[in-house]
């Protein structure tokens, strides 16, 4: 459950502004939180925490800037706080640990099975949403965040870089690498299901 904190003191204008700007983003935040936390209850806790923080900080949001990016920044920080305090993830590892678990990047950042794919769109379409979510959730956290912002929510690289507090180049590299990791996982599942021939794969 969310931290009690100080109750928001909003004027009528602030409340109306919060309602107009932030409330319509609730579904986007909740979807991101669900793909991030692997858990419905934790996702709701996280978004609730985010919304309370956003409500308190609504005066800091500048009109004409990207409300989704602003809220995503708050969501990410709330998530880091939660992971560090192990409040939402009793068995969670730290952000630093997840980053350390990343394999060394290959020079070309290609997937292990990249030379074996044909008709990639058709093969990917055979996977249901739940399976794609599972594959996403198996990725290291910073890679998952990048794909959630850039590919799922279609945010530009610069907005994602601001939210994740890394250079734009890192976002591009992570996105490319994340896609390769995701399709490797899905390809392995496709092999297990017999959707692609293992013999063909091994000789391709």
């Amino acid at each position: 459950m969310m931290e009690p904190g100080t109750p928001p003191r909003l004027t009528t204008d602030q409340a109306a502004r919060f309602k107009r700007l932030a409330v319509p983003q609730l579904a986007i935040l909740l979807r991101t939180a669900k793909y991030l936390t692997h858990h419905d209850q934790q996702a709701e806790d996280l978004v609730q925490d985010t919304m309370m923080k956003a409500m308190r900080a609504i005066d800091h949001f500048r009109d004409g800037t990207d409300i989704k990016a602003w809220l995503m920044t708050i969501l990410r920080r709330a998530h880091i706080d939660a992971v560090r305090s192990n409040k939402h993830h009793p068995q969670a590892v730290s952000i630093e640990q997840t980053q350390m678990e990343l394999p060394e990047p290959r020079r070309d950042e290609a997937g292990e099975y990249d030379s074996k794919w044909n008709q990639p769109a058709a093969l990917l379409d055979r996977f249901g949403d739940r399976e794609v979510i599972e594959a996403l959730q198996a990725l290291p956290e910073d890679i998952r965040w990048t794909l959630l912002l850039v590919d799922v929510e279609q945010m530009d690289h610069s907005a994602a870089a601001t939210i994740l507090e890394v250079p734009v180049g890192t976002i591009k590299s992570r996105a490319h690498r994340g896609r390769a990791m995701l399709r490797d996982r899905l390809y392995r599942w496709a092999q297990e299901r017999g959707w692609v021939s293992k013999q063909e794969s091994s000789h391709a």
Binding site: P8, T11, R31, Q48, M51, A121, V152, H176, R179
Partner: protein, 225 residues
């Protein structure tokens, strides 16, 4: 054998598959309830801490009143937010409407449907006119604690449902948005049932059926508002 996909094709395919994850329906109703409850809890907790001191100071009393009023205003504002029309609930409504087709009033024109339904719902929104599908039947349905008009259309042999509600009561669920004929439609799919939702003036409209997304948009674009 076909040529292997290039790196760019692979990246594009993954990117497109992930983009579709943004159309997976998300139900925010529980979170909205929790948010309202949390704010109410915070308000009362704050009052418990501040009120004893408030007796000693007029300004503290004013501050306490301000907090209560503010929390109330925010709760009212959140309460007035239109509910998200959940695709799963709409899919159930479609299934029920198709199943109970024979229990609905048979109509052949929107004017006739407007006359029939306004007798059952005095606040009936003006129904859009389908131009590229045939109107078959109509009824008033309870949906998420509100009323909606439910119209059965036929596209050839395929039944479609058009749900019309008040824009102040419903909003389209977040999803992929496309623009057709100057109007924005939000697209969803639940088990092969495709949906196109839109807000037009004071109306929330959802058109759904087991047709291709292109065909559904073509029919939606042809609606006369």
């Amino acid at each position: 054998m076909r040529d292997r996909a290039t790196q760019t094709e692979l990246d594009d395919a993954v990117r497109e598959r992930l983009a579709r994850m943004a159309t997976v329906p998300v139900d925010t109703s529980n979170l909205e309830r929790r948010l309202r409850a949390a704010m109410a809890d915070n308000g009362s907790e704050h009052s418990r801490w501040r009120l004893p001191r408030a007796w000693r100071s007029l300004t503290a009393v004013a501050a306490a009143i301000l907090i209560v009023v503010t929390v109330g205003l925010v709760l009212m504002n959140l309460g007035n937010t239109p509910a998200m029309a959940a695709p799963m609930d709409l899919a159930r409504l479609h299934a029920e409407a198709i199943k109970s087709d024979s229990m609905m009033t048979v109509v052949t024109s929107v004017e006739q449907a407007n006359r029939v339904l306004s007798g059952q719902w005095s606040d009936l929104p003006q129904l859009p006119t389908p131009t590229s599908s045939q109107l078959h039947a109509c009824c008033i349905h309870d949906f998420m604690d509100s009323k909606v008009a439910c119209l059965i259309l036929r596209d050839g042999q395929t039944p479609l449902t058009m749900v019309v509600g008040r824009a102040r009561e419903f909003r389209p669920a977040e999803g992929r948005t496309v623009e057709r004929g100057g109007r924005k439609f939000t697209l969803h799919e639940v088990n092969g049932l495709r949906m196109a939702m839109t807000h037009q003036g004071d109306r929330f409209v959802c058109l759904m059926g087991e047709v291709s997304a292109d065909r559904l948009l073509e029919i939606a674009e042809g609606l006369g508002f």
